[in-house]
């Protein structure tokens, strides 16, 4: 007898994607003569598949198995499930939720889908990521151009140079990632760990072999076309009607981390590493200094469009750079317990539209024009009529996200707040439930 299992509020397979944060689930039997005892457990469908854990309530500690009693009248029983940290999926459906009873077992294929270090991806993960990006770009005729158009000179203040920098970019990445997932739901926006060498990322099989040029003279330093292997999905990349990805690097991309500016600027403007980033401070007002370094330093470790705000989003590496910026924020939030948008230690805004915790954000709010001299908005709003892309795997944040809706990405304050993404090295810890 098959049991009906809902993941993320639906039996739709499109919702069967989990992070390390608890997702709401329900299970029921068809009306029967008596109650049915079931045990939930996780089983890998492939040797390197994902694993999940179970929660009786969203604040209880997780367990590897969960015993439930399904009422005879067919009423559903709630439970929560989440990916087991350290065991994310590699492929769609490589993790099975198994419901065992005296009558047999029902299995539901799932994916523990999180953003990973791009330098360590398996080839098939890399290739499906690239294929999705290729289709999103669609030779210059795809939806990607809208995302490029969101990050231009006129929108610079909407996204940068203030406390809204991190929430705006989290929303931006989430929107783009969900568009990628409309193409391939198994894809995540993997990150470039810029404070470590990434030889498998900056190569002809991934984001392009990037010529090294000196930071200092002599040598030309503007961007040059990166090299891809023949037939690479991104070899036909087009933005603003122009083919190719222009990028040069001021470091050896095979052996060195992104440096920032070291040899020419006095004092140097180095890219600070993860530990130093986390050490910037324990409150948001201190932590957000990371917009300068490592964020800005990562951008200017290159020549080419990625090194300037108006043109950076032409380069697909930009999105992986920002995925790492966002990961650092998520990691800091976990370590410092900063997930409450009402707490200034978690987010402290400023008095300008798009920067207060309750404000909606351009372009998703479709607000344009110079409303007041103190609160100008760009004269355009790419995709503003659509709002932020929805996902069957998460209820939040809706089509017009607020700044505050980006703060509790794992749903610590309310499980309904979780945004449906996570990082391979950022665990979930219950917000105060008992820990074994």
């Amino acid at each position: 007898m098959a049991l009906e299992v809902e993941i993320n509020g639906t039996t739709d397979p499109a919702a069967r994607y989990l992070t390390f944060a608890p997702s709401p689930c329900r299970i029921r039997q068809d009306p029967a003569a008596g109650d049915l005892a079931v045990t939930l457990r996780s089983r890998r469908a492939q040797p390197a598949g994902g694993d999940v854990l179970f929660f009786a309530t969203p604040t209880s500690s997780s367990t590897a198995t969960l015993d439930l009693t399904l009422p005879a009248n067919g009423d559903p029983v709630n439970f929560w499930t989440a990916g087991k940290w350290g065991n994310p999926s590699c492929d769609d459906g490589d993790c099975l939720l198994v419901a065992e009873s005296a009558e047999g077992e029902t299995t539901v294929p799932l994916m523990v889908r999180v953003r990973k270090n791009a330098n360590t991806l398996k080839c098939r993960e890399r290739d499906r990521f690239l294929e999705a990006f290729k289709l999103l770009n669609n030779g210059g005729n795809g939806v990607f151009q809208d995302f490029r158009d969101m990050h231009v000179s006129q929108s610079g203040e909407e996204a940068h140079r203030g406390p809204h920098f991190l929430p705006w970019h989290r929303s931006y990445l989430l929107d783009l990632e969900r568009q990628l997932q409309l193409i391939d739901p198994a894809v995540s926006l993997h990150y470039w760990r810029f404070d470590e060498p990434a030889p498998h990322l900056l190569d002809p099989d991934f984001i392009g072999a990037t010529e090294q040029v000196p930071e200092h003279f002599p040598g030309t330093q503007s961007g040059r076309p990166v090299a891809f292997r023949p037939g690479h999905p991104l070899a036909g990349w087009v933005t603003d009607g122009t083919p190719g990805i222009l990028r040069t690097a001021f470091f050896d991309t095979q052996t060195e981390a992104a440096p920032g500016l070291l040899t020419t600027v006095d004092p140097p403007f180095p890219l600070i590493d993860q530990t130093s980033t986390l050490a910037l401070g324990s409150v948001y007002g201190q932590f957000r200094a990371m917009e300068g370094t490592p964020h800005g330093a990562a951008h200017v470790s290159f020549g080419g469009p990625i090194s300037a705000v108006p043109t950076a989003a032409k380069d697909p590496l930009f999105f992986m750079l920002h995925s790492n910026v966002d990961r650092l924020w998520a990691l800091w939030q976990w370590i410092e317990d900063r997930t409450n948008p009402s707490d200034p230690s978690s987010y402290e805004g400023s008095d300008r539209d798009g920067r207060r915790v309750g404000d909606t954000m351009w372009p998703w709010n479709n607000v344009t024009g110079n409303l007041t001299p103190q609160n100008p908005r760009p004269p355009f709003a790419p995709r503003g009529q659509f709002g932020l892309t929805s996902s069957p795997a998460a209820m939040a944040p809706g089509t017009t996200p607020t700044v505050g809706s980006m703060v509790d990405s794992q749903g610590h304050q309310a499980t309904t707040s979780q945004l449906g993404f996570g990082y391979d090295d950022v665990p979930f810890e219950n917000p105060g439930g008992p820990m074994p």
Binding site: S62, T63, A64, G86, L135, G139, G140, N141, S153, H160, R161, F165, E215, H216, F217, P218, G219, Q221, S222, G223, P230, G231, P233, G236, V238, D240, G241, T242, P243, G244, G260, L261, T264, V265, D266, P267, F269, T275, S276, L278, A279, E291, G292, T293, H295, G296, H299, V300, G303, P305, S307, A308, P310, T311, L331, W334, I335, P427, E429, P436
Partner: protein, 245 residues
């Protein structure tokens, strides 16, 4: 792994990060990083000063680019930044000029786009090499560079200059026939043919499919051993043909 072991692992991971963080904080407090009193003002002054060394001006340019990502007063100093870039773009050093033009074009300076175009028409007036000028101009499809690019695509003897002129024309609907011809010509260089394929796919995908079909037939008719096939072009074409209409 038991539940207890799982949570112990998380606790140990947390502890490791916290220890490293605390050590970094202590080190930063013990030896604070040197910060210039007003790094923006210092860099703006140096960038704009033609008496400064090219190294100092280039360093200031890079520093200002880095600060542009986070400086909350950026909109206030942007005009001076652009003035400094314009000054640097007229310096005696080619590398500094190239850096400056790259930034000016990124910020959408029409005046400096025209300077590059003027340099393409009159080499005596050129401030950067033709290939660099074309590559920078290609980043804006609205730059009025198509006429000069068409001329150079026909006449340039330097392969890099010709390739970059084709890049400028990639958004030009009047260049569809040109790209179709380059793609179908096995005598053209691989990089020109692959760029032509990409441009054609962006401008007129149906035409790309038509050219690809003709190339397939021509290959089958001429060479069973496929010795004349440029496999790199073929691989690129196959990737583009996967794209939807």
């Amino acid at each position: 792994m038991s539940n207890e072991e799982y949570y112990q692992r998380i606790r140990e991971y947390r502890k490791k990060i916290e220890l490293e963080r605390d050590a970094a904080r202590a080190a930063a407090e013990a030896a604070p990083a040197e910060v210039a009193a007003d790094p923006v003002e210092l860099a703006l002054t140096r960038l704009a000063d033609p008496e400064e060394t090219r190294e100092a001006r280039a360093a200031s340019l890079q520093h200002l680019k880095a600060l542009s990502f986070s400086s909350e007063t950026f909109s206030d100093w942007l005009p001076r930044f652009l003035e400094g870039l314009r000054s640097a773009s007229r310096s005696d050093h080619a590398g500094l000029r190239e850096l400056a033009f790259e930034a000016l074009i990124a910020y959408g300076s029409r005046e400096d786009q025209q300077s590059l175009i003027d340099g393409l028409a009159d080499p005596e007036a050129a401030l950067v090499s033709p290939a660099v000028a074309l590559r920078l101009l290609s980043q804006d499809p609205h730059a009025p560079a198509r006429e000069v690019a068409r001329s150079l695509a026909d006449t340039a003897t330097d392969p890099e200059t010709r390739l970059e002129s084709l890049r400028v024309l990639a958004s030009d609907p009047e260049s569809v026939d040109r790209f179709a011809g380059i793609l179908a010509d096995p005598g053209e260089a691989t990089d020109a043919r692959t760029l032509a394929a990409t441009a054609l796919g962006s401008l007129d995908r149906a035409r790309l499919r038509s050219v690809a079909a003709e190339m397939e037939q021509a290959t089958e008719a001429v060479s069973e051993a496929r010795e004349d096939v440029d496999v790199d072009v073929e691989a690129h074409l196959n990737s583009l043909l996967d794209l939807p209409e």
